[in-house]
Amino acid sequence: MGNHSDGSPNHSGTVATAGQNEVEKFQDPGIPPHRLRLADTDPRAAKRAERQVAILFGASVVGTLIFLVAYFAIDLGADSSIATIRLQNTLLGIGTAFAMLGIGTGIVHWAKALMPDHEVSEERHAIRTEEDRLAAVRIVDDIVEETGIKRRPLIRNTLLGAVALAPLPALAVFGDLGPRPDNKLAHTMWAPVDGKTKRLTRDPDGTPIKASDVTIGSAFHVIPEGLNELHEGKLNEKAKSVVLLMRLNPESLKPSPGREDWSYNGIVAYSKICTHVGCPVALYEQQTHHLLCPCHQSTFDLTQECKVIFGPASRPLPQLPIAVDDEGYLYATSDFKEPVGPSYWERDEHERNINS
């Protein structure tokens, strides 16, 4: 409880209105008088500060030694363990920190305790003087006059044209940074080659999956048969063709028209690449039949053909049509019926081409 007003506007009368602020102001009293430090008056304090600075510099020397010892005494041989590396890393950190902080705090202490701490005032000068400005204008005028660019519009115009066109080659050069997209994004490795369909195989070892292995509630991370045998572009193909395989109670699946034969006995396969920006949709909530993308939390409902029920994705995950072959192994009857992964400008066109 002070004896001042509570500061509310109608109380303190502080809110001035327009035009009323032309009142007398406080005069600047100037730089406050300099106050002496202990070290300025007491020679013993100054001597003490001097010793402290020297000790700090000494600490830096110790730090440098710690670094060198840690660097040379700890050997990272072929059989070095994680603990050795961690120990060395910590000691190198401590050594460097002491070496640097010793110098740094020493210098700052020296500056603050012993160097003169008189604040001084310096005039600011105009950034540009009128005299300079006039001289500069004259010079520019003379330069323009000497080039004669105003008198010779032909030179000026042809130069402008040439300069405007000159960057074009750079654009052309950048055009070869990569191949044209064409319809590469529309197809994946699942497309049958010469009528031969691809089996669903486990990620990462590539062993085929039997329908009987897939129990209700289980989930498999799947890659197409033959992916591991690729010599080039393996990751490119994998980035499009990874699939999640799950088995639900067949009654809980309500396939839309045209998708009735895309699943087998409650086993469904969906693209693992999120339709938002392409992270792997790696989390399967067995109880709720939800798929969750850990990057941006888009959530897809497996019982509604992976419709988006939460998060930033806008399209359902594409479904891979699957069936079982004579030996009981799962295979993809065709490629995805739409491009997988994040949307792109030509996506709708590609989807129409696939389905026509």
């Binding site: 190198l92 002491f98 740094g104 490119n236 792109y344």
Partner: protein
Amino acid sequence: MSATSTADTPTFVAKTKGGRITDFVDQRVGGSGMLREFGRKVFPDHWSFMFGEVALYSFVILLLSGTFLTFFFDPSMAETHYQGSYLPLKNVEMSVAYNSSLNISFDVRGGLFMRQVHHWSALLFVASVSVHMLRVFFTGAFRKPREMNWVVGSVLLILAMAAGFTGYSLPDDLLSGNGLRIIDGVIKSIPVIGTYISFFLFGGEFPGTAIIGRLYMLHILLVPALILLMIVIHLFMVVVHKHTQYPGPGRNDGNVVGYPLGPVYAAKAGGFFFIVFGVVALMAGFFTINPIWNYGPYDPSPVSAGTQPDWYIGFVDGALRLMPGTFGDWHVEQVWFGHVFTFNVLLPALVPAGILFTVMFTYPWIERWITKDDREHHVLDRPRNAPTRTAIGMAGFVWYCVMWAAAGSDLIATHFHVALNDVTYWLRALFFIGPVLAFIITKRVALALQRKDREIALHGRETGRIVRLPHGEFIEVHAPLNEYKRYKLVGFESPSPLPAEPNSHGVVDRKEKRRAMLSKWFFEDRVAPATPAELAAAHGHHGEHESIEPAAEQKSLSH
């Protein structure tokens, strides 16, 4: 030539060996002029001026540690099998880039330490640039003549983020690979040219075999060169303008009050470099950052839960998370004229960042237009003395922080045991409400602080000494301020709204009316600095009763 000139001028002969060397150099480059100009140049001192220094010094540390790392890093995306000393990854197939990053961590002596120093100082670099910019904004240091330097600083912030992101992706580990995948998804959402840009950037389909090498070139050559260039321009302009100073007795727009460069300021600033280095070394020694060996090599199939980008990319990632992809059955992604408009990616990726950076770049001119203030300012504003600007800054800051928090929505949910969906719903609401609340609250707080300053200037500080007067009233004794402390509280400008003015044709045009409206909004709520007349009046009261408003005092004591 020398014969005549030496005959005319008395020859200077240096006494010491050091002096002779200095003189040798000076006669050839004319260093004494420079030393005369800078040797005793005055720099104002304040703890908040150190953020810019931290930024500069962490960049120096980045150059030093980064150079070490280039000696061992190989940016190739060719396949190899790991044969290094980290057993869990033995014989695992990976890219050469990831392999060499592991070797730096486990088989190069001090390599792990250097990686940690590099990553920590990168985080510190962007952080200190950001905090430095907040300081400049809230104190009004961007005003004339420093608008262009503010723009250079903004460019530096973007370059710092670019440097950070290109470096983050280089080890080709699982985490950074997923980061690139997200970038690829965002690029593909760009209308018309998105797919082409993606193919050109990655040299074909994602991930391809070109991206690491290309980012490496950007990271170690182009971006740092641009940063260096911008730092040179930035510091050059600081020299031209001389440093700003906080308001206080003896300081005005015509002078600089502070310590001379040599020796005090140079010692403090130079010593501070070692302190920054030391702190970074401590962090690198004790706190693991980006343990790539835990993530494994990049593979498009797995991803770990709780994935996070480095902090400065967080606000874009958070915006991506906040945007709903569907409203009921209505899809935000639309197909128009046979082409896909991926608004659910495009809007959050471009719009918030676009607004933040556009306002950031243009703010000095916006405020200058509203206030019609064309004077040079070298004395800073205390944030409370520019309530509307401070409120605008806090609104932007809170908006940024909401998006940034959204990048950790899953971690917020798991750490505080709340539903992930609820976290997202709340943050979506805060995305819109947060800045408004921040604006209102900040402005009120700033005005309240100004009133408090007024009270202290007029009635002195509270001493905590309670005295009972003969008639039973209790009062707290206030001690008056000395004139220096008082001047700090009263020495500021409090402009009032500037009404619309007719232009040269005598017409008040629509733009000018709009400006006048904004000026009203900007300056309407204001607290004028205390005046000597008010102080005299307050002292009059003190003489008789120790209180300015006895009636009010009675009232407050009665309940």
